[in-house]
């Protein structure tokens, strides 16, 4: 009924190969973009931006990055927190060393530096696989956090070891520091999120992505048909770390404004992003968004319902939050092991046949 291909004629290859070949899907996508770009910036306030939208957008970028590595290339990584820290500290060093350069360039450079670090830590993936690789990336996580705590150069010798984002602007609009307007920070992150999603989507359905997926599905077979595992794995690490670095840079400079490496980029962050992609759906860009939304927005929603509506004590709500989110994760994964993205796919399939399922 809704997702009909009937009457949806395509006359060129370009039309045939677009991301959303079904008209209804495509219009839905345009609508979402329209709301995100043209409506939200005009109604957004500090609460929306800092509590909901910024963390959602930033975690979505991190989830896209990790999804490329884990979901598309099949290399399990527990180093996300450490790589986000690389992005954050790179951004901090760049921001303070070159105050006049645009933040866009700093964030992209931070991503590039993280990509280089990611490739370095991706080298062992050529020899070790699966759980053993997870342990190797875990070492990266702990090493990087230790590094940023140990050497004062990284935090410009500040007494407390904290890094603070100084005020910076883009085209005269302040986007970091306390005086940044909610819409400006939102728009800045939105640009990077859309950019990341489009780049990731097009990489994964092109030849690069197909190589990653071949490695994921069976690396020996992939090697036989001519995929170079060195290049495939290292590009996956590079691209993945690039996005994670961007998200780390935004997380520090735009969202929090001051971070401390052990607290903000600890092992919990690695697990959080990994949970996002497992719940959202491995190997799916939409899944990265869905997972980020699930784990960022649901706790806030539960808090608002529990504390603000029902007036329950905050500690009970906080405990309930853990119970409910945990239970939902289990339920989701029992009902649909492939995550929210698969649920969405099944729903679309059903809608396509509805109301005549046979």
């Amino acid at each position: 009924m809704f997702y009909r291909e009937a009457g949806d004629f395509r006359t060129t290859y370009a039309e045939d190969q677009q991301t959303f070949p079904i008209k209804f899907d495509r219009y839905r996508y345009y609508l979402v973009l329209f709301i995100a770009i043209c409506l939200i910036p005009f109604v957004i306030n500090d609460y929306w931006a800092n509590s909901l939208l910024l963390p959602f957008l930033i975690y979505a970028i991190a989830a896209i990055g990790l999804n490329i590595l884990v979901g598309y290339c099949g290399q399990v990584s527990l180093g996300t927190g450490g790589f986000m820290a690389v992005g954050a500290y790179a951004c901090y060093k760049l921001m303070t060393a070159m105050p006049d350069v645009s933040m866009f360039i700093h964030v992209l450079l931070a991503g590039a530096i993280t990509a280089a670090v990611g490739v370095l830590f991706g080298l062992p993936s050529l020899r070790i696989k699966g759980f053993y690789l997870a342990v190797a990336t875990l070492a990266a996580q702990f090493f990087l956090v230790w590094l940023f705590n140990r050497f004062p150069w990284f935090y410009n010798y500040s007494a407390s070891g904290q890094i603070n984002a100084p005020e910076r602007d883009v085209f005269g609009i302040v986007i970091t520091g306390p005086n940044a307007e909610a819409w400006a920070t939102y728009a800045f992150c939105l640009i990077f999120t859309i950019f990341s999603a489009i780049v990731a989507r097009n990489l994964t359905r092109g030849s690069v992505g197909r190589k990653w997926m071949a490695i994921r599905d069976m690396d020996i077979a992939a090697e036989i048909i001519g995929v170079n595992p060195l290049r495939a794995k290292l590009t996956a690490f590079a691209v993945s770390s690039f996005f994670i670095g961007i998200s780390g840079a935004l997380f520090f400079s735009i969202y929090l404004g001051a971070v401390e490496v052990g607290e903000a980029f600890g092992i919990q962050k690695s697990f959080l992003v990994l949970f996002m992609i497992i719940i959202g759906g491995l190997g799916s860009i939409f899944g990265s968004f869905a997972g980020a939304a699930f784990l960022v927005l649901l706790p806030v929603l539960l808090k608002v319902v529990g504390v603000d509506w029902l007036g329950w004590p905050t500690d009970i709500v906080a405990h309930l939050q853990l119970v409910i989110v945990g239970a939902l994760i289990v339920l989701f994964l029992v009902a649909e092991p492939h995550g929210i993205a698969q649920l969405w796919r099944v729903a679309k399939e059903k809608l396509r046949l509805w109301p005549f399922p046979h």
Binding site: Y47, P166, L256, E263, L297, V307
Partner: protein
């Protein structure tokens, strides 16, 4: 993605809670997580004092108070969410009880013209009000603590620490790193040997740190810990038979929770404080009459008189007095956060006032001014008596070495001012 935006819209609508006409004192509390043992009594004390004011005096200057709570779990991201969600309720002063969250909020509160009180924690150089216009850390700060501990040790050793070894066991975060500079300066001045022993969050595993201490054999150990880290440290110190009377914690490492777990082995452990201990003050009679007996006590109501409950109560008392001062300065009972800031800067705590409030000799007397947001920095020492299960004040509230601390505050606040293009001014 549409349904997610729907969720957002719902959440956004719900966040817009009705505006309250009360004097709002938001409490960014943490009753869950590895730091809950410290967060619960503080939040209870903070809430109970305002409940008592409402019940006994009908609020402050005739306006009722309210204390909306928001759970941060000592997590900076949740702390930011809490700050944003409570901002619209007109909160007069924020007390995040977390150095990490304080660092987030210093620029935000300044931009939003809302004062923040970080009593005995946060960024120490906020004592320089010319730079940190909206942040207050009276009556004492981390550096006063570090110097207070050294002064106490100096007194114990007849004024000479030359050649002694002192180790600092600290929470490896902004909080724990704060005293390092001061202790380094003091070690130069007094000639003791200073070593740093970091403990990573949350601090449940400290075997290697205490092994190091056992090997180094320091004469004294100073601890800057919080939450579960404290009990573990006290237990580990007992395990390596480190003499407890040579083990001194900062005020955040000196509550009942930290020592009870180690039992008799914790006897003699010392901790710094900047306020009185125990419930032997007249104000607790009022708390009993107006709060506990009416069934209005916050939380489980079982924390009254504990060290951190007293600290929460003290923080609430200082906030209430600042609100009164603000009402006097601006001649209106219905004050705004900006007026509250003026009230905090004009706050004068005298002994008569403390006695009148039912807290005689509970804390130091001090005047806040633009150039000094940090108070007098008087520090006392308490000692744990494991048989009686209570903390005892074993020294007077003594002044700390401002010759060392003053220049450090100047230096650090000047660096902050330069980083953020702030023109320091008091006028």
């Amino acid at each position: 993605m549409t349904y997610k935006l729907g969720t957002l819209a719902v959440a956004g609508l719900m966040a817009a809670s009705p505006v309250m006409a009360d004097l709002v004192f938001p409490s960014l509390s943490y009753r869950t997580g590895p730091y809950a043992a410290g967060g619960i009594p503080f939040a209870d004390g903070y809430a109970d004092y305002f409940t008592m004011l409402n019940e006994r005096d009908g609020g402050i200057g005739g306006v009722k108070t309210s204390v909306p709570e928001c759970e941060t779990a000592y997590n900076t991201e949740k702390g930011v969410e809490c700050y944003e969600s409570l901002k619209d309720s007109g909160g007069l002063v924020y007390q995040p009880l977390s150095t990490g969250i304080t660092y987030q909020l210093i620029p935000k509160t300044t931009a939003d013209d809302i004062p923040m009180h970080t009593m005995g924690y946060g960024r120490t150089s906020a004592a320089n009000g010319a730079v940190f216009t909206h942040t207050f850390n009276y009556p004492a700060n981390y550096w006063n603590g570090a110097s207070g501990a050294i002064n106490y040790l100096l007194a114990e050793n007849g004024g000479d620490l030359n050649g002694k070894k002192i180790s600092l066991v600290y929470h490896n975060s902004a909080y724990g790193k704060e005293p390092i500079r001061t202790l380094q300066e003091l070690s130069k001045k007094h000639g003791f040997e200073f070593t740093e022993v970091p403990v990573d969050h949350p601090g449940q595993e400290q075997k290697s740190q205490w092994l190091q201490i056992r090997r180094d054999k320091p004469d004294y150990v100073i601890m800057y810990g919080w939450g579960v880290m404290n009990q573990v440290a006290v237990q580990e110190a007992a395990n390596i038979r480190f003499p407890m009377e040579n083990f001194i914690g900062i005020w955040w490492s000196g509550s009942e929770n930290d020592v009870l777990a180690a039992g008799a082995a914790a006897d003699g452990y010392k901790a710094l404080t900047f306020h009185g201990v125990g419930s032997d003050f007249p104000v607790f009679d009022d708390i009993q009459t107006y709060v506990v007996d009416k069934g209005l006590a916050a939380g489980a109501g079982d924390q009254i008189g504990t060290v951190l409950y007293n600290r929460g109560l003290y923080a609430a008392m200082l906030a209430a007095e600042a609100a009164k001062t603000a009402q006097e300065i601006h001649g209106t009972a219905d004050i705004t956060p900006a007026m509250m800031r003026d009230g905090m800067e004009g706050l004068k705590i005298t002994e008569e006032k403390m006695t009148e409030l039912g807290l005689p000799n509970f804390g130091p007397t001090f005047d806040v001014s633009c150039s000094n947001h940090g108070g007098t920095g008087l520090v006392g020492v308490t000692q744990w008596d494991a048989t009686a299960k209570e903390w005892k004040l074993i020294s007077d509230f003594a002044p700390t070495d401002m010759d060392v601390i003053g220049p450090l505050i100047e230096e650090d606040s000047a660096a902050y001012a330069a980083e953020n293009n702030i023109e320091p001014s008091c006028g």
